[in-house]
């Protein structure tokens, strides 16, 4: 077994066996199935996975913004600074949202209200949770816009969202998200809708903002380039379950789960040999209604063997600070250990 984890500061957020189910006509589907993870102060956690793997639902569950019905938290705990968010009332939750935990969304162009000015929306975000006069809030709004590097901040306050570019809008969204100094920021595909050059700027901005505060950051993405750029630790999800967790360098160096390897193989990078082909993962994600017995990845896995079809692999700490849910990886690592031991 791997040695115990190095001591780390108490986490801001700890998901403990979170279960989110979708109540549909075709039955109750486990969209997020026993997800556990932690985020420490100042840490950036990336949640990676294909569309429909449950990463966005997990984030919405933390915010208690799941579309109910059909989605519902059916088990587990969402511990934020020691409190279980899943047990709070809606009114209590409204005080947490925006003040303690903020969230930014995929498409900045549609995340701002089209009929009010950017300034009014920022002021609203500030005054929602802090008791300041209007004039003071306006000053803070200008300062926030400067912090997210929007030039000519005073003049921008009177702009409507349609007068801004995508990158600008996402900066405004970030400004609104950090307005009350949250302890945790959840960014759901924050750069997916943006140009590549703007993406890099936004990621840079988020890193910068995080460096000056002890804010924890969860980035949800399917782009491993973004992960390499910003994350400290990575959680890989597949069909509602966590299949691998590792520090970012370790993951890129050697991934334990064949799904992670597949994702890495499908990502272009500068270090790859020119003309080298990208490898895709064969097949597609099984529907939640028709998950096979055993490992959910068995039908797409290049290294599948009999045990994978019969038994579901449990998440196991295979190396220091990393874990994976894969029988193949377990076998391979025990072989390595035997060689080292011999």
């Amino acid at each position: 077994m791997a040695p115990e984890l190095a001591p780390r500061p108490a986490p801001i957020l700890a998901l403990d066996q979170l279960q989110v189910s979708l109540f549909t006509r075709r039955g109750v589907l486990p969209a997020v199935d026993g997800l556990s993870l932690t985020v420490a102060p100042g840490e950036t956690l990336a949640i990676v996975g294909e569309s429909g793997c449950g990463k966005s639902l997990a984030a919405l569950a933390v915010m208690r913004l799941l579309p109910e019905p059909p989605a519902k938290i059916v088990g587990g705990a969402v511990r934020f600074m020691g409190r279980d968010l899943a047990a709070l009332s809606e009114r209590e939750m409204q005080r947490v949202r925006g003040r303690d935990i903020s969230m930014i969304f995929q498409d900045p162009m549609t995340s701002l209200n089209p009929v009010t000015t950017v300034g009014a929306q920022l002021v609203e975000a500030i005054r929602r949770h802090t008791d300041v006069a209007h004039g003071e809030a306006v000053n803070r709004a200008v300062e926030l816009l400067r912090r997210v590097r929007i030039p000519d901040a005073e003049r921008r306050l009177t702009d409507y969202p349609h007068q801004m570019s995508g990158g600008m809008s996402q900066r405004v969204m970030i400004a609104m998200a950090i307005a009350c100094g949250p302890k945790l920021l959840i960014a759901d595909e924050p750069t997916t809708a943006l140009d590549v050059t703007v993406q890099a700027q936004i990621l840079e901005l988020m890193k910068e903002l995080q460096a000056t505060s002890e804010m924890g950051l969860i980035i949800i993405t399917h782009d491993l380039g973004v992960v390499a750029e910003i994350a400290d630790r990575v959680v890989v999800m597949y069909a509602g379950r966590k299949v691998e967790e590792a520090p970012v360098e370790a993951l890129f160096e050697r991934s334990l789960h064949p799904y992670t390897r597949g994702l890495l193989g499908a990502t272009p990078s500068a270090s790859r040999r020119r003309g080298g082909r990208l490898v895709d993962i064969a097949g597609s994600v099984p529907g939640l209604a028709e998950l096979p017995a055993g490992c959910a990845f068995q039908n797409r896995c290049p290294d599948v063997f009999d045990r994978c079809r019969a038994e579901r692999p449990m998440l196991a700490p295979l190396l220091p600070r990393r874990s994976a849910a894969c029988f193949g990886a377990e076998k391979e690592l025990s072989r390595d250990a035997a060689i080292v031991g011999a």
């Binding site: 915010m63 913004l65 009114r91 409204q94 005080r95 947490v96 949202r97 925006g98 003040r99 903020s102 969230m103 930014i104 969304f105 995929q106 498409d107 549609t110 995340s111 701002l112 209200n113 089209p114 009929v115 009010t116 609203e124 975000a125 929602r128 949770h129 969204m173 609104m176």
Partner: protein
């Protein structure tokens, strides 16, 4: 703000019909406001010989009715009644309609079911009979007529508001507002409503026209407020003399027709100006 207002005015004025309608409505408003100065005495007072034809007397340019009351004075004061009822009935209908539609769409589920079935119930009741019933129960006062007309005309506004809210409710900015910690009420009124308002304003302006017609019908049938002058009542009073002195019916009839037409034209113009899909046409 100024630029967008100018833009709105320009788009509205591009529709010639709307401009004509707007001028007509302004005229009616002007007459209504000026009535106490033009005709300082009670318009329902008998002033002269009955049945003076229009354009035959300097003192009574639109003639007198069967009792010898000045038609021009009654018309001017009738404009007040008509506009007040139209405006406040439309306001009542809009408030009820937005309240019901917005609540139904935003909360969804059984609330939506119940409210929409209620709306349909109201739609199945014949409008005029419903208005007459309410007025008969509450009494023949101008306030009650207004409320009655409001109660029968809110249903299309509720349905339109619900449709708008349904399409806006799941937009990302609403989700973003919830992520900021806003409550349901705040999001409904402060964030979604301003986005849903343009088509509702257009419909409300058309409801004013409908309300004018309702008021005329109620007064024509003699169920209007007996103490105020009204166009519908003038027609009702004049109908017995329609073979000989048809102008008694024709003059207020023309006024109703032109006002309703003007209100509809304004509604169309608002639609052109507020509907982003028609903006560049």
């Amino acid at each position: 703000m100024l630029a967008s207002t100018l833009d709105f005015v320009r788009r509205f004025a591009r529709n010639r019909g709307a401009l004509v309608g707007f001028v007509l409505v302004l005229t009616v408003i002007g007459v209504a406001l000026a009535a106490p100065w033009m005709f300082p005495r009670n318009p329902l007072r008998i002033v002269g010989r009955p049945e003076i034809w229009p354009f035959t007397s300097w003192r009574y340019p639109l003639g007198t009715d069967s009792l010898g009351r000045d038609i021009a004075a009654m018309l001017a004061y009738g404009a007040r009644t008509t506009l007040l009822i139209g405006l406040f009935a439309s306001l009542t209908a809009t408030v009820i309609g937005i309240g019901v539609g917005a609540t139904a769409a935003y909360l969804g589920g059984w609330v939506d079911e119940v409210l929409m079935r209620c709306t349909e119930l109201f739609q199945t009741i014949p409008n005029l009979i419903f208005v007459l019933t309410i007025v008969a129960i509450l009494g023949q006062k101008i306030e009650y007529v207004t409320i009655a007309v409001g109660i029968v005309t809110w249903t299309p506004i509720a349905r339109l508001t619900r449709a708008e809210f349904l399409s806006l409710r799941d937009r990302e900015f609403v989700q973003a507002c919830r992520a900021m910690g806003m409550g349901n009420f705040r999001i409904m009124l402060g964030e979604i409503l301003p986005n849903a308002l343009p088509p509702v304003i257009v419909l409300s302006s058309l409801v004013i026209a409908g309300a004018v017609l309702f008021e005329s019908a109620v007064s024509f049938l003699g169920l209007g407020d007996p103490n105020v002058s009204s166009w519908g009542r003038l027609i009702g009073d004049g109908r017995t003399l329609i073979r000989t002195s048809w102008y008694i019916c024709a003059v207020p009839g023309l006024a109703i027709m032109l006002t309703v037409l003007a209100l509809n034209l304004v509604g169309d113009g608002l639609n052109d100006a507020l509907n982003p899909k028609l903006r560049d046409r």
